[in-house]
Amino acid sequence: MAKKPKITNTIRRLRFDADEMTQKQLAEAVGVTRQTIVAIENAKYYPTLELSFMISRRFGKPLEEVFIIEFE
């Protein structure tokens, strides 16, 4: 059976690059709680495709630059 791929992300760096945007600001921009952004950044929660696109769009980046799938 194939191993489950791991999905990481670059949100922390993108926030830093975007004038050090806070987690709260990002959460409010995409309509979720700050705790959800924390969980996503720590790869503890995988967002839905809809939220993934909203986060990517907020940074003006394609999805693949924000979320990276890793096959171990």
Binding site: A27, G31, V32, T33, Q35, T36, Y45, T48
Partner: protein, 149 residues
């Protein structure tokens, strides 16, 4: 702490309070002999019917109080009330635990009745099984919120 996490903790506390109330109420009914007569199931049903609105009111009061206390503790006059997809996912996760426990309680009750167990005792056990399912579901959600496991 998100709005739904606060509500979850409040529901957990309210569930514990309601269970303590029901246990004490049933203990009183047992001690005064009300649950030993021919109409024991009717007495039990009336006690449970009263417990349901009391339970709902307790949950609402606990949620309001907990949100007020949390806003005071955090010194946040405008706490967030956002409910998002992660809250929904965690709610669904907790619901799985609740449904498993409730199903076991129901099936166990039916099996006990099939083997001739006392109907009143089975009803009491089933009700506590349902209540336990709710508590375990809320506890599972709390673990998920706190540790993201």
């Amino acid at each position: 702490m998100s709005h739904e996490e606060r509500n979850n903790i409040a529901s957990l506390l309210a569930g514990l309070l309601v269970n303590i109330y029901i246990i004490s109420r049933l203990a009183n009914l047992y001690s005064d002999g009300s649950l030993n007569g021919a109409d024991s199931i009717m007495v039990w049903a009336r006690a449970i019917l009263w417990a349901i609105p009391i339970g709902i009111a307790t949950v609402i009061i606990c949620i309001i109080l907990f949100n007020i206390l949390f806003a005071i503790a955090e010194r946040d006059p405008k706490p967030s009330f956002v409910v998002d997809e992660r809250d929904q996912a965690i709610k669904s996760y907790g619901m799985h635990f609740t449904m498993v426990i409730v199903s076991i309680a129901f099936f166990g009750g039916v099996v006990a009745l099939a083997f001739g167990a006392n109907t009143l005792h089975v009803l009491i056990a089933m009700f506590f099984g349902f209540s336990l399912g709710d508590l375990i579901g809320n506890f599972a959600k709390l673990i998920r919120y706190r540790y993201d496991v």
